[in-house]
Symmetry: C2
Subunit: 162 residues, 2 copies
């Protein structure tokens, strides 16, 4: 058996879980870990580092996505699977979609996260509401001025789409 290609895919999820426990014990952040796998090989790992890095975006999945993209030298993680110790929050699920991973496997659910004090479930509810009904006020202004940049992108002949 090749140590880099476990026969049991659950072993990747178990590595994500082990990272979640390790990060919690070391005080890096919340109890969350993630692993990204391509062709049976781990290409990115992440632990929640919100506290260690003073970075509210440093969730395990985001850290793993950034590491995997750096490993592969590409903004696309097509062909990859994201294993995460907990159902991704809206930020991380959005990040997973932008990264174009093929599939997501998770262990704890958003209700489990809510039960220990995390806002994932609340944020899902908020994002489903029209902007005017959300708890964080949102206001649209100067659309006409901003459209100039969108027109510049649209007319750019050499642009790379992502």
């Amino acid at each position: 058996m090749n140590a880099h290609a476990p026969h049991d895919p659950d072993d990747f999820l178990r590595e994500a879980i082990a990272l979640s426990l390790d990060g919690c014990r070391r005080g890096l952040g919340g109890p969350f870990g993630a692993v990204i796998v391509k062709d049976g090989h781990v290409v990115g790992r992440g632990q929640n580092r919100v506290l260690a890095d003073n970075d509210p975006t440093a969730h395990a999945e985001m850290v793993a996505i950034r590491e995997a993209a750096a490993t592969l030298g590409s903004f696309s993680l097509e062909g990859c699977v994201l294993y995460t110790s907990c159902e991704p929050c809206p930020m991380c699920l959005g990040g997973a979609y932008w990264s174009r991973v093929d599939r997501i496997v998770f262990a704890n659910g958003r209700a489990d996260a809510a039960a220990i004090g995390f806002d994932d479930a609340f944020f899902y509810d908020e994002l489903g509401r029209p902007p005017a009904e959300r708890s964080v006020p949102m206001e649209q202004r100067l659309r006409d001025e901003a459209l100039v940049a969108f027109a510049a992108w649209d007319g750019k002949p050499d642009k790379t789409s992502y």
Copy 2:
């Protein structure tokens, strides 16, 4: 007039728009810019750097949130306003919620982004669906094993909540 505290708050949004156009012209990524302001001062700036950094999470708002958190030395951006050249995608809106900004001001809307080929509106639709009905398959496994890390967090006496 203090250059660091413009009298017109729209000037902050105009700076975000200027960053969006600059980033597009320089090929850093899509035409998106963001500025984070606290007490009338810019504490973080961001341009989309998906292409420049090969990082699918490097949206303007995420870059600005990370810079603001580093500037303030805190994972909380309470008391801050996020000015962004386009309505945040679900990843960035989730990031804004986690950062605890007070308010969001945006210029272009998600439909404008869709019109030039970005998936923001599609991702909002996807996140609103039950996991089983999404285009990216999601599977829950090993919850019992993962709950151990959540119990460790829950029982941690010295933990910092965020």
